[in-house]
Subunit: 135 residues, 2 copies
Amino acid sequence: MTHNTTPAAGTDIAPEQACPIAPVVDIVFSRWTTPILWALHEYGRHRFVELERRITTITPKVLTERLRRLERDGLVVRTYHPEVPPRVEYEISELGRSLAPLFAALADWSVNLGKVERVRREYDSKEQRPGSRRN
Amino acid sequence: MTHNTTPAAGTDIAPEQACPIAPVVDIVFSRWTTPILWALHEYGRHRFVELERRITTITPKVLTERLRRLERDGLVVRTYHPEVPPRVEYEISELGRSLAPLFAALADWSVNLGKVERVRREYDSKEQRPGSRRN
DNA sequence: CAGTATCCAGACGGATACTG
DNA sequence: CAGTATCCGTCTGGATACTG
């Protein structure tokens, strides 16, 4: 905590967490977790290389990191099969599955992406509004 | 696009976007946007300095950046009042308000944070599972 | 008040090579 | 196959100072 100038006594609320949903966002929507969880959620169990191929732009290093984190958070279950060659399978956990309504809400909202696109274009075309900054 | 070695012809799907909800996540859950939207959503209209004070750890520079982005995406409405001293008010837009169910889903899921905590602790205590890595 | 302008550090993630 | 080990560039965001 670097610049907490509010001397509001001992009630030391966590950094950006005046917002109760922030911790959830940290867990569920940190980088790459969305496509990973989505893949496991939608298409079931995957081997490492299958995930790699599905999420084409991720590197093995990063994929490993993310999977470890998801496993640690209990959203993903890793199963190691000691065979030759080794086989590892990842699947979504029960807890992970409980994210379904959240994902559904996300998917629902995606109908609004077009609006966002349009607003952006308009914003970019104006670029200078009355009453304030330009350039 | 740096390492797209898949020569899969013209069908050039966006980076990590084999996942349809990824764009929504980008817009709604990029850094700092959650506490900002939450504040505006829960407590209504805010002046710049009010947001600054509510989200104690954010710097003015970053707050400005985030607000611009949210405005550009149509989630937040900025109103400039040319007075002395200047007064600017930010409020959530209609489109932003449509995120309410999503936020509700987030808030609902936060009951699981305790589970995550517990799983983490267990994971960290084991640290070495049968069949694989340790250290 | 409501921002801008700079400067900068440190984390994140990409590229590449190697291993059990 | 399923990773790990290094190295390194980029880019976000923090600190700080200044302005209309």
